[in-house]
């Protein structure tokens, strides 16, 4: 199986063109905030790719991927908080404003590493990865699968949301982390920084796609498909299904964490709402719309839904939830393979086309 197939070529080509074109068009054809918006979409797209890796290939429908995204976002947010330094309202050189407000006199231990950018980069992968590993270790070992697994992933993100709402947790409670100033000494609102973040997001998406593709095109990818289609059969072939699921689940969570980390500096805030179960379910419809098990399709679906949301909420705010609800119903009923899958069916049938059973 080739690493870069047709879909991937088309998508990566399109991504490259947009990455060059959007900065050029900004300010004349596109509004001034286009880069920020596009960067945000690319982060969503990376999250969708992460979900597609587990849902499309291993059959694990996660309703809690937003949690990994949010954890990556919080890790990055913590670093950005530390970079504010004395420019906060209370001008405390060490403590973020909300800690001063809560009368804390020193940083909690889990904030210590956030001062270092290198450590932050590591934690962006490690924090979601560790949570996914522990959660997955328990869930997959117990052979929790299907809707049961979906429900407990939802419970996981719900539990984290409740936890992060608490001030005592030391993550800013209700308000989350915000009022960021700069990253690596460069102001977040400067055009250069915005461009860098946008390009970083595009690169992360391309990297994530290629990594996911490398995994799914390998022999391991076939084991995953075997697990998805006939889990029991795969066990009798001698594969430890839980190990495979755990591997791909953890990789996917890390990818989601990277997406979250790139998202935060571009939107300027992270709060416990990111853990809301509704957010995680929305990611699922991005993947379903684009085409489950197509990777590039998932990314495309994310961008399409996000773009529609931006346009629709500006134009007819009340219509958005109706549209999203209808999308859930219509895609599952009439577009089970998603856009990319449906386009694939239009092309002359090829023997090798990997059909995804619904």
């Amino acid at each position: 199986m080739r690493l870069i197939d047709r879909n991937m070529t088309v998508f990566l080509g399109g991504l490259f063109i947009l990455t060059v074109a959007i900065p050029l068009m900004q300010g004349n054809i596109l509004p001034g905030y286009a880069i920020q918006l596009a960067g945000k979409y690319l982060c969503y797209a990376l999250l969708a790719v992460a979900l597609d890796l587990v849902w499309g290939y291993a059959g694990i429908l996660s309703l809690g991927h937003g949690a990994f995204f949010a954890l990556g976002a919080y890790v990055m947010g913590m670093h950005l908080m530390r970079e504010i330094g004395t420019r906060g309202v209370y001008a405390n050189p060490e403590l973020p404003d909300f800690m001063v407000f809560l009368n804390w006199d020193s940083l909690p231990w889990y904030w210590l590493a956030s001062g270092s950018f290198a450590a932050t980069l590591a934690l962006i992968l490690l924090v979601p990865g560790c949570l996914a590993f522990v959660f997955g270790w328990f869930a997959f070992r117990a052979r929790v699968s299907g809707v049961y697994l979906s429900i407990i992933t939802q419970a996981m993100t719900y539990a984290l949301m409740l936890a992060f709402f608490r001030n005592e947790m030391g993550f800013g409670g209700n308000n989350g982390l915000t009022d960021f100033k700069d990253l690596l000494g460069v102001s977040l609102s400067s055009p250069e920084m915005r461009l860098v973040l946008f390009i970083a997001s595009a690169l992360a998406l391309a990297g994530g796609l290629l990594l996911a593709r490398a995994i799914t095109a390998s022999h391991l990818g076939r084991v995953l498909v075997a697990i998805r289609d006939a889990e029991s059969r795969t066990r009798f072939l001698g594969y430890r299904v839980e190990h495979y699921k755990l591997f791909v689940w953890t990789v996917s969570a890390m990818m989601a964490g990277v997406a979250g980390a790139l998202y935060v500096p571009q939107v300027g805030i992270v709060n416990p709402g990111e853990f809301a179960p509704a957010n995680s379910i929305e990611v699922v419809i991005w993947v379903a719309l684009g085409g489950r098990g197509t990777l590039a399709g998932a990314a495309l679906g994310a961008i399409m839904v996000a773009l529609t949301r931006t346009l629709l909420t500006g134009w007819l705010p009340d219509a958005w939830l109706y549209a999203l609800g209808a999308l859930f119903i219509l895609v599952t009923l009439y577009l089970p393979k998603g856009i990319v899958g449906a386009l694939g069916d239009l092309r002359p049938a090829r023997k090798q086309s990997k059909e995804v059973p619904a």
Binding site: I215, S218, V223, D229, A230, S232, R233, Y239, H243, K351
Partner: protein, 243 residues
């Protein structure tokens, strides 16, 4: 030399005794047919052997040294126990060749899987197996195969595992008469190199296997011996053959 030794095994589900003091020994290279009415405990026995469930009492040993009660499905499969289900289960969204590749003997851990498929020898082995079960197109999606072809593919996958013990659950179900006979012939030819346990309802098929037969009834061995011998056993006639 026995390959499989089941000693005084019992297993209950919610008070129902599916397996009741079962004793069974399979010799190396032996072909054995197991017959019995519905609910005789055939499937439960297979589940016990493959580590899918644990016995309440008794021991199961593979090759005299491996305690099967301590292993899961993957563990027993890696030891060399292959199992074919009644309903053919192949990976429908992979091609025939990929299905075989999945089953080919080799490391089963995540890291080896990441490094990619097996080498040149694997390609040769795959071709040999496809030839054996007469599946000409390795690039066809397994989901596009007919029911009978799926059975054959699954048998090929089993053989690709190079199992020392094969558990085959009703292979003749859904096959034409000709296919049934060919399956019997194939199993007979495999015996010797592999030890094989066949669970079957179809008496013609069992007769064609021409091997030792064990009659299971209520989770217990009722009779054992050549088919002609057990079919004259009045108890067997009572519970099974003469229904």
């Amino acid at each position: 030399m026995t390959i499989l030794n089941i000693d005084s095994v019992s297993k209950s589900f919610d008070g129902f005794r599916a397996i009741n003091d079962l004793n069974l020994a399979i010799d190396k290279g032996e072909l054995r047919a197991i017959i019995g009415p519905n609910g005789a405990g055939k499937t439960t026995m297979m589940d016990l052997i493959t580590g899918r469930i644990r016995p309440d009492r008794g021991t199961l040993f593979f090759d005299t040294t491996h305690d099967l009660t301590r292993l899961d499905e993957a563990g027993t499969a890696r030891l060399g126990i292959g199992r074919k289900f009644q309903k053919p289960t192949v990976i429908e969204s992979l091609t025939v060749a990929e299905n075989i590749d999945l089953a080919l003997a080799g490391p089963r851990d995540v890291w080896s899987a990441l490094r990619g498929p097996h080498g040149k020898s694997a390609v040769k082995e795959r071709a040999r197996l496809l030839d054996l079960v007469r599946l000409p197109d390795p690039d066809l999606l397994a989901g596009a195969l007919s029911h009978g072809q799926k059975q054959w593919l699954e048998i090929a996958m089993l053989l690709a595992q190079k199992p020392r013990l094969l558990l085959v659950d009703e292979p003749a179900a859904g096959m034409t008469d000709a296919e049934t006979m060919r399956t019997a012939e194939l199993l007979r030819s495999l015996a010797g190199e592999h030890s094989i346990v066949v669970v079957e309802h179809d008496m013609d098929f069992v007769r064609a296997l021409d091997c030792r037969v064990t009659v299971l009834h209520q989770g217990h061995v009722l009779a054992e011996g050549p088919l002609d011998h057990v079919s004259r056993n009045p108890e067997v006639i009572d519970v099974y053959l003469g229904r």
